[in-house]
Protein backbone atom coordinates (compact mmCIF):
# COMPACT_ATOMS: atom_id res chain seq x y z
CA UNK A 1 0.00 0.00 0.00
CA UNK A 2 1.19 3.51 -0.78
CA UNK A 3 -0.21 5.64 2.06
CA UNK A 4 0.19 4.17 5.57
CA UNK A 5 -2.86 2.32 6.80
CA UNK A 6 -5.02 4.04 9.43
CA UNK A 7 -7.62 2.55 11.80
CA UNK A 8 -10.22 4.54 9.86
CA UNK A 9 -9.25 2.73 6.63
CA UNK A 10 -9.86 -0.58 8.42
CA UNK A 11 -13.20 0.61 9.77
CA UNK A 12 -14.24 1.72 6.28
CA UNK A 13 -13.31 -1.69 4.87
CA UNK A 14 -15.22 -3.46 7.63
CA UNK A 15 -18.39 -1.59 6.69
CA UNK A 16 -18.73 -4.39 4.09
CA UNK A 17 -19.00 -7.06 6.79
CA UNK A 18 -22.68 -7.62 7.57
CA UNK A 19 -24.54 -9.50 10.27
CA UNK A 20 -25.14 -12.86 8.54
CA UNK A 21 -28.58 -13.08 10.19
CA UNK A 22 -29.61 -9.54 9.19
CA UNK A 23 -27.55 -8.90 6.06
CA UNK A 24 -28.46 -5.20 5.75
CA UNK A 25 -26.67 -4.06 8.89
CA UNK A 26 -22.88 -4.01 9.29
CA UNK A 27 -20.98 -5.37 12.28
CA UNK A 28 -20.08 -1.77 13.10
CA UNK A 29 -23.71 -0.58 13.05
CA UNK A 30 -24.68 -3.59 15.15
CA UNK A 31 -22.14 -2.57 17.80
CA UNK A 32 -20.38 -5.93 17.61
CA UNK A 33 -17.19 -4.33 16.24
CA UNK A 34 -15.58 -2.75 19.31
CA UNK A 35 -12.08 -1.68 18.35
CA UNK A 36 -9.39 -1.61 15.68
CA UNK A 37 -5.71 -1.33 16.62
CA UNK A 38 -2.66 -1.21 14.41
CA UNK A 39 0.13 -3.07 16.16
CA UNK A 40 3.57 -4.33 15.29
CA UNK A 41 1.88 -7.67 14.57
CA UNK A 42 -0.61 -6.23 12.09
CA UNK A 43 -4.26 -5.30 12.50
CA UNK A 44 -6.07 -6.33 15.65
CA UNK A 45 -9.87 -6.25 15.49
CA UNK A 46 -11.93 -6.64 18.67
CA UNK A 47 -15.48 -7.98 18.53
CA UNK A 48 -18.06 -8.88 21.20
CA UNK A 49 -20.96 -11.34 20.93
CA UNK A 50 -24.59 -10.24 21.13
CA UNK A 51 -25.54 -13.44 23.03
CA UNK A 52 -23.27 -16.00 24.71
CA UNK A 53 -24.28 -18.58 22.14
CA UNK A 54 -24.51 -16.32 19.10
CA UNK A 55 -23.74 -18.72 16.23
CA UNK A 56 -22.99 -15.79 13.90
CA UNK A 57 -19.77 -14.86 15.70
CA UNK A 58 -17.63 -17.42 13.87
CA UNK A 59 -19.03 -16.26 10.53
CA UNK A 60 -18.35 -12.61 11.36
CA UNK A 61 -14.81 -13.40 12.44
CA UNK A 62 -14.14 -15.25 9.19
CA UNK A 63 -15.69 -12.45 7.13
CA UNK A 64 -13.57 -9.80 8.88
CA UNK A 65 -10.41 -11.78 8.12
CA UNK A 66 -11.46 -12.45 4.54
CA UNK A 67 -12.34 -8.79 3.87
CA UNK A 68 -9.06 -7.46 5.23
CA UNK A 69 -7.01 -10.13 3.46
CA UNK A 70 -8.76 -9.23 0.19
CA UNK A 71 -7.70 -5.60 0.74
CA UNK A 72 -4.08 -6.69 0.98
CA UNK A 73 -3.80 -6.68 4.77
CA UNK A 74 -2.15 -9.98 5.54
CA UNK A 75 -1.68 -9.98 9.27
CA UNK A 76 -5.08 -9.87 10.95
CA UNK A 77 -6.03 -10.95 14.46
CA UNK A 78 -9.67 -11.03 15.56
CA UNK A 79 -10.05 -10.96 19.32
CA UNK A 80 -13.31 -11.63 21.14
CA UNK A 81 -14.16 -9.91 24.44
CA UNK A 82 -17.19 -10.36 26.73
CA UNK A 83 -16.87 -7.18 28.83
CA UNK A 84 -18.50 -4.78 28.81
CA UNK A 85 -21.45 -6.92 27.70
CA UNK A 86 -23.10 -5.95 24.43
CA UNK A 87 -26.35 -4.05 24.68
CA UNK A 88 -28.92 -3.18 22.05
CA UNK A 89 -28.16 0.48 22.87
CA UNK A 90 -24.98 0.05 20.83
CA UNK A 91 -26.93 -0.40 17.60
CA UNK A 92 -26.33 2.85 15.73
CA UNK A 93 -29.06 5.20 14.45
CA UNK A 94 -28.36 4.08 10.87
CA UNK A 95 -28.46 0.49 12.04
CA UNK A 96 -31.87 0.99 13.65
CA UNK A 97 -33.22 2.59 10.48
CA UNK A 98 -31.91 -0.30 8.37
CA UNK A 99 -33.46 -2.88 10.69
CA UNK A 100 -36.85 -1.21 10.36
CA UNK A 101 -36.50 -1.00 6.57
CA UNK A 102 -35.73 -4.72 6.59
CA UNK A 103 -38.98 -5.48 8.45
CA UNK A 104 -37.50 -5.94 11.93
CA UNK A 105 -38.69 -3.58 14.66
CA UNK A 106 -35.61 -2.01 16.29
CA UNK A 107 -35.16 -2.68 20.02
CA UNK A 108 -36.92 -0.48 22.58
CA UNK A 109 -34.46 2.17 23.74
CA UNK A 110 -32.21 1.65 26.71
CA UNK A 111 -31.76 -1.93 27.78
CA UNK A 112 -32.62 -0.99 31.30
CA UNK A 113 -33.71 -3.47 33.90
CA UNK A 114 -37.34 -2.42 33.49
CA UNK A 115 -37.51 -3.62 29.91
CA UNK A 116 -35.72 -6.85 30.86
CA UNK A 117 -38.10 -7.39 33.75
CA UNK A 118 -41.04 -7.27 31.43
CA UNK A 119 -42.62 -3.82 31.45
CA UNK A 120 -44.27 -4.03 28.03
CA UNK A 121 -42.50 -1.71 25.58
CA UNK A 122 -44.39 0.19 22.89
CA UNK A 123 -43.47 -1.60 19.68
CA UNK A 124 -44.16 -0.07 16.30
CA UNK A 125 -45.09 -2.34 13.40
CA UNK A 126 -42.28 -2.07 10.80
CA UNK A 127 -44.81 -2.66 8.01
CA UNK A 128 -47.59 -0.10 8.69
CA UNK A 129 -46.29 1.95 11.62
CA UNK A 130 -49.13 1.02 13.96
CA UNK A 131 -48.32 0.71 17.65
CA UNK A 132 -51.19 -1.71 18.19
CA UNK A 133 -48.97 -4.75 18.36
CA UNK A 134 -48.83 -7.88 20.52
CA UNK A 135 -46.05 -10.22 21.48
CA UNK A 136 -46.57 -13.79 20.26
CA UNK A 137 -43.40 -15.23 21.79
CA UNK A 138 -40.38 -13.80 23.61
CA UNK A 139 -38.20 -16.10 21.49
CA UNK A 140 -38.20 -15.51 17.74
CA UNK A 141 -36.32 -16.71 14.70
CA UNK A 142 -32.95 -16.12 16.37
CA UNK A 143 -31.84 -15.67 19.97
CA UNK A 144 -31.83 -11.88 19.62
CA UNK A 145 -35.40 -11.53 18.39
CA UNK A 146 -38.94 -11.80 19.75
CA UNK A 147 -41.99 -12.60 17.63
CA UNK A 148 -44.76 -9.99 17.37
CA UNK A 149 -47.91 -9.44 15.38
CA UNK A 150 -49.63 -6.24 14.29
CA UNK A 151 -53.35 -6.05 15.07
CA UNK A 152 -53.90 -3.43 12.36
CA UNK A 153 -52.22 -4.84 9.26
CA UNK A 154 -52.26 -8.36 10.80
CA UNK A 155 -48.69 -9.08 9.68
CA UNK A 156 -46.28 -10.93 11.97
CA UNK A 157 -42.83 -9.41 12.47
CA UNK A 158 -39.62 -9.78 14.47
CA UNK A 159 -38.59 -7.38 17.21
CA UNK A 160 -34.90 -7.00 17.96
CA UNK A 161 -35.02 -7.82 21.68
CA UNK A 162 -33.87 -5.36 24.27
CA UNK A 163 -30.67 -6.56 25.92
Amino acid sequence: MSAPLTPQDVLDLLEQVKDPEVPVISVRELGVLRDVQLTADGVEVTITPTYSGCPAMDVMRTEIERTLHAAGIDRVTVKQVLSPPWTTDWISASGRAKLEGYGIAPPPHSADIRALKGAAPVVKCPHCGSTRTEMISAFGSTACKALYKCTDCLEPFDLFKCL
Partner: protein, 252 residues
Protein backbone atom coordinates in the same frame (compact mmCIF):
# COMPACT_ATOMS: atom_id res chain seq x y z
CA UNK B 1 -8.16 -27.28 48.66
CA UNK B 2 -5.87 -25.04 46.64
CA UNK B 3 -7.46 -21.94 45.20
CA UNK B 4 -6.70 -22.83 41.56
CA UNK B 5 -8.09 -26.35 41.94
CA UNK B 6 -11.23 -24.95 43.61
CA UNK B 7 -11.66 -22.41 40.83
CA UNK B 8 -11.19 -25.08 38.15
CA UNK B 9 -13.82 -27.36 39.66
CA UNK B 10 -16.29 -24.55 40.24
CA UNK B 11 -15.97 -23.05 36.76
CA UNK B 12 -16.21 -26.54 35.30
CA UNK B 13 -19.44 -27.06 37.25
CA UNK B 14 -20.89 -23.78 35.98
CA UNK B 15 -20.12 -24.96 32.46
CA UNK B 16 -21.43 -28.48 33.04
CA UNK B 17 -24.73 -27.23 34.49
CA UNK B 18 -25.36 -25.13 31.39
CA UNK B 19 -24.08 -27.77 28.96
CA UNK B 20 -26.14 -30.63 30.37
CA UNK B 21 -29.35 -28.67 30.84
CA UNK B 22 -28.88 -27.08 27.41
CA UNK B 23 -28.61 -30.54 25.88
CA UNK B 24 -31.79 -31.66 27.64
CA UNK B 25 -33.69 -28.65 26.32
CA UNK B 26 -32.36 -29.20 22.81
CA UNK B 27 -34.15 -32.57 22.86
CA UNK B 28 -37.38 -30.60 22.30
CA UNK B 29 -36.11 -29.27 18.99
CA UNK B 30 -38.57 -30.58 16.41
CA UNK B 31 -40.79 -32.04 19.18
CA UNK B 32 -42.12 -28.94 20.95
CA UNK B 33 -45.81 -28.86 21.92
CA UNK B 34 -46.26 -25.83 19.66
CA UNK B 35 -44.03 -24.06 17.17
CA UNK B 36 -43.27 -21.03 19.37
CA UNK B 37 -42.22 -23.28 22.26
CA UNK B 38 -40.10 -25.44 20.00
CA UNK B 39 -38.25 -22.29 18.93
CA UNK B 40 -38.08 -20.92 22.47
CA UNK B 41 -36.49 -24.09 23.86
CA UNK B 42 -33.97 -24.22 21.02
CA UNK B 43 -33.07 -20.58 21.73
CA UNK B 44 -32.71 -21.17 25.46
CA UNK B 45 -30.62 -24.28 24.78
CA UNK B 46 -28.39 -22.18 22.54
CA UNK B 47 -27.94 -19.55 25.26
CA UNK B 48 -26.95 -22.27 27.73
CA UNK B 49 -24.58 -23.84 25.23
CA UNK B 50 -22.93 -20.44 24.71
CA UNK B 51 -22.52 -19.99 28.46
CA UNK B 52 -21.06 -23.49 28.68
CA UNK B 53 -18.53 -22.66 25.96
CA UNK B 54 -17.38 -19.57 27.86
CA UNK B 55 -17.12 -21.37 31.20
CA UNK B 56 -15.43 -24.49 29.81
CA UNK B 57 -12.91 -22.43 27.86
CA UNK B 58 -12.03 -20.60 31.06
CA UNK B 59 -11.86 -23.87 33.03
CA UNK B 60 -9.36 -25.22 30.49
CA UNK B 61 -7.22 -22.11 30.91
CA UNK B 62 -7.28 -22.37 34.72
CA UNK B 63 -6.23 -26.00 34.53
CA UNK B 64 -3.37 -25.06 32.23
CA UNK B 65 -3.02 -28.43 30.54
CA UNK B 66 -4.13 -27.25 27.13
CA UNK B 67 -7.62 -28.72 27.26
CA UNK B 68 -10.10 -26.80 25.08
CA UNK B 69 -13.84 -26.36 25.53
CA UNK B 70 -14.34 -29.27 23.13
CA UNK B 71 -11.94 -31.54 25.02
CA UNK B 72 -13.83 -30.83 28.24
CA UNK B 73 -17.29 -31.26 26.73
CA UNK B 74 -16.62 -34.30 24.58
CA UNK B 75 -13.80 -36.26 26.13
CA UNK B 76 -14.64 -36.49 29.81
CA UNK B 77 -16.44 -39.49 31.26
CA UNK B 78 -19.59 -39.40 33.33
CA UNK B 79 -17.80 -39.38 36.69
CA UNK B 80 -15.80 -36.34 35.58
CA UNK B 81 -18.90 -34.19 35.05
CA UNK B 82 -19.65 -32.01 38.05
CA UNK B 83 -23.14 -30.71 37.24
CA UNK B 84 -26.03 -30.91 39.70
CA UNK B 85 -28.39 -33.84 39.22
CA UNK B 86 -31.32 -31.51 38.57
CA UNK B 87 -29.77 -30.57 35.20
CA UNK B 88 -29.41 -34.13 33.89
CA UNK B 89 -32.87 -35.58 34.65
CA UNK B 90 -34.80 -36.66 31.53
CA UNK B 91 -37.01 -34.04 29.95
CA UNK B 92 -40.28 -35.84 30.82
CA UNK B 93 -43.53 -34.21 29.73
CA UNK B 94 -43.67 -30.49 29.04
CA UNK B 95 -44.80 -29.66 32.58
CA UNK B 96 -41.76 -31.52 33.87
CA UNK B 97 -39.43 -29.66 31.51
CA UNK B 98 -40.92 -26.30 32.53
CA UNK B 99 -40.87 -27.13 36.25
CA UNK B 100 -37.23 -28.22 36.10
CA UNK B 101 -36.25 -25.12 34.12
CA UNK B 102 -38.09 -22.93 36.61
CA UNK B 103 -36.39 -24.48 39.65
CA UNK B 104 -33.01 -24.11 37.91
CA UNK B 105 -33.61 -20.62 36.47
CA UNK B 106 -34.71 -19.28 39.86
CA UNK B 107 -31.27 -20.37 41.12
CA UNK B 108 -29.27 -19.53 38.00
CA UNK B 109 -30.36 -15.88 37.70
CA UNK B 110 -29.37 -14.70 41.21
CA UNK B 111 -26.16 -16.75 40.98
CA UNK B 112 -25.14 -15.09 37.70
CA UNK B 113 -26.18 -11.68 39.06
CA UNK B 114 -23.92 -12.17 42.07
CA UNK B 115 -21.06 -13.44 39.89
CA UNK B 116 -21.08 -10.20 37.88
CA UNK B 117 -19.61 -8.64 41.05
CA UNK B 118 -16.95 -11.33 41.52
CA UNK B 119 -13.38 -10.01 41.83
CA UNK B 120 -12.46 -12.69 39.27
CA UNK B 121 -12.82 -10.59 36.12
CA UNK B 122 -13.26 -13.51 33.75
CA UNK B 123 -16.08 -14.95 35.83
CA UNK B 124 -17.69 -11.53 36.10
CA UNK B 125 -17.43 -11.06 32.33
CA UNK B 126 -19.01 -14.41 31.48
CA UNK B 127 -21.76 -13.85 34.07
CA UNK B 128 -22.34 -10.36 32.67
CA UNK B 129 -23.45 -11.96 29.41
CA UNK B 130 -25.31 -14.85 31.05
CA UNK B 131 -27.33 -12.68 33.43
CA UNK B 132 -29.29 -11.00 30.65
CA UNK B 133 -30.12 -14.37 29.09
CA UNK B 134 -31.02 -15.94 32.44
CA UNK B 135 -33.50 -13.09 33.00
CA UNK B 136 -35.41 -14.10 29.86
CA UNK B 137 -35.20 -17.78 30.79
CA UNK B 138 -36.71 -17.29 34.25
CA UNK B 139 -39.48 -15.17 32.80
CA UNK B 140 -40.27 -17.85 30.25
CA UNK B 141 -40.34 -20.78 32.69
CA UNK B 142 -42.30 -18.76 35.29
CA UNK B 143 -44.99 -17.77 32.78
CA UNK B 144 -45.46 -21.35 31.64
CA UNK B 145 -45.51 -22.75 35.15
CA UNK B 146 -48.31 -20.31 36.00
CA UNK B 147 -50.15 -21.23 32.82
CA UNK B 148 -49.96 -24.95 33.69
CA UNK B 149 -50.62 -24.61 37.41
CA UNK B 150 -53.50 -22.19 37.00
CA UNK B 151 -54.75 -23.93 33.84
CA UNK B 152 -56.87 -27.04 33.47
CA UNK B 153 -57.27 -29.84 35.98
CA UNK B 154 -54.93 -31.97 33.87
CA UNK B 155 -52.21 -29.32 33.47
CA UNK B 156 -52.41 -28.48 37.20
CA UNK B 157 -52.05 -32.12 38.16
CA UNK B 158 -49.04 -32.59 35.90
CA UNK B 159 -47.34 -29.39 37.05
CA UNK B 160 -47.79 -30.30 40.73
CA UNK B 161 -46.50 -33.82 40.08
CA UNK B 162 -43.45 -32.38 38.35
CA UNK B 163 -42.66 -29.97 41.20
CA UNK B 164 -43.17 -32.77 43.76
CA UNK B 165 -40.92 -35.17 41.87
CA UNK B 166 -38.16 -32.64 41.29
CA UNK B 167 -38.11 -31.19 44.78
CA UNK B 168 -35.55 -33.61 46.20
CA UNK B 169 -33.06 -32.46 43.55
CA UNK B 170 -33.16 -28.79 44.61
CA UNK B 171 -31.15 -29.15 47.82
CA UNK B 172 -27.94 -29.85 45.92
CA UNK B 173 -28.06 -26.42 44.28
CA UNK B 174 -27.37 -24.74 47.60
CA UNK B 175 -25.10 -27.30 49.31
CA UNK B 176 -21.54 -26.11 48.68
CA UNK B 177 -18.84 -28.69 48.14
CA UNK B 178 -15.25 -28.19 49.23
CA UNK B 179 -14.32 -26.27 46.08
CA UNK B 180 -17.26 -23.92 46.43
CA UNK B 181 -16.60 -23.39 50.13
CA UNK B 182 -13.02 -22.41 49.32
CA UNK B 183 -14.19 -19.81 46.80
CA UNK B 184 -16.99 -18.51 49.03
CA UNK B 185 -14.43 -17.92 51.78
CA UNK B 186 -12.19 -16.15 49.27
CA UNK B 187 -15.09 -13.91 48.20
CA UNK B 188 -14.95 -15.15 44.59
CA UNK B 189 -18.25 -17.05 44.72
CA UNK B 190 -21.35 -15.66 46.47
CA UNK B 191 -22.58 -17.37 49.61
CA UNK B 192 -25.06 -19.96 48.37
CA UNK B 193 -27.28 -19.21 51.38
CA UNK B 194 -27.96 -15.74 49.96
CA UNK B 195 -28.82 -17.30 46.59
CA UNK B 196 -31.16 -19.69 48.43
CA UNK B 197 -32.99 -16.75 50.01
CA UNK B 198 -33.67 -15.25 46.57
CA UNK B 199 -34.67 -18.66 45.22
CA UNK B 200 -37.12 -19.17 48.09
CA UNK B 201 -38.75 -15.81 47.40
CA UNK B 202 -39.10 -16.46 43.64
CA UNK B 203 -40.43 -19.98 44.23
CA UNK B 204 -42.97 -18.74 46.78
CA UNK B 205 -44.20 -15.96 44.48
CA UNK B 206 -44.52 -18.05 41.30
CA UNK B 207 -45.96 -21.17 42.96
CA UNK B 208 -48.61 -19.01 44.64
CA UNK B 209 -49.55 -17.42 41.32
CA UNK B 210 -49.62 -20.88 39.74
CA UNK B 211 -51.86 -22.20 42.57
CA UNK B 212 -49.26 -24.90 43.20
CA UNK B 213 -48.15 -26.17 46.59
CA UNK B 214 -44.56 -26.00 47.72
CA UNK B 215 -43.55 -29.52 48.80
CA UNK B 216 -42.14 -30.07 52.27
CA UNK B 217 -38.34 -30.29 52.40
CA UNK B 218 -37.38 -33.91 52.90
CA UNK B 219 -34.43 -36.03 51.90
CA UNK B 220 -32.34 -34.27 49.27
CA UNK B 221 -30.30 -36.01 46.58
CA UNK B 222 -26.61 -35.10 46.40
CA UNK B 223 -23.53 -36.32 44.63
CA UNK B 224 -23.70 -34.68 41.21
CA UNK B 225 -21.21 -32.03 42.29
CA UNK B 226 -18.83 -34.86 43.12
CA UNK B 227 -19.32 -36.75 39.85
CA UNK B 228 -21.80 -39.31 41.23
CA UNK B 229 -24.72 -39.01 38.87
CA UNK B 230 -28.09 -40.55 38.19
CA UNK B 231 -28.19 -43.28 35.56
CA UNK B 232 -29.51 -40.70 33.08
CA UNK B 233 -26.30 -38.74 32.54
CA UNK B 234 -24.48 -41.61 30.85
CA UNK B 235 -27.17 -41.90 28.18
CA UNK B 236 -27.12 -38.15 27.64
CA UNK B 237 -23.33 -38.16 27.19
CA UNK B 238 -23.51 -41.14 24.83
CA UNK B 239 -25.52 -38.95 22.47
CA UNK B 240 -23.70 -35.67 23.17
CA UNK B 241 -20.26 -37.20 22.69
CA UNK B 242 -21.01 -39.68 19.94
CA UNK B 243 -19.40 -37.90 17.02
CA UNK B 244 -16.06 -36.88 18.57
CA UNK B 245 -15.78 -40.34 20.14
CA UNK B 246 -16.55 -42.16 16.89
CA UNK B 247 -14.36 -39.89 14.76
CA UNK B 248 -11.52 -38.65 16.99
CA UNK B 249 -10.19 -35.29 15.88
CA UNK B 250 -13.00 -34.72 13.38
CA UNK B 251 -13.19 -31.16 12.05
CA UNK B 252 -16.01 -29.38 10.27
Amino acid sequence: MERSEALFRTVLRLGDNSLVLGHRLSEWCGHGPQLEEDIAQANIALDLLGQARNYLTYAGEIEGKGRTEDDLAYLRTERQFLNVKLAELPKGDYAHTIARSFLFDAFHLPLQQALTKSPDERLAGIAGKAVKEATYHLRHSSEWLVRFGDGTEESHRRAQAAIDGLWMYTGELFAPDEAERTLIEAGILPDLASIKAEWDATVARVLAEATLVRPADGWMARGGKDGQHTEHLGFLLAELQYLPRAFPGAQW
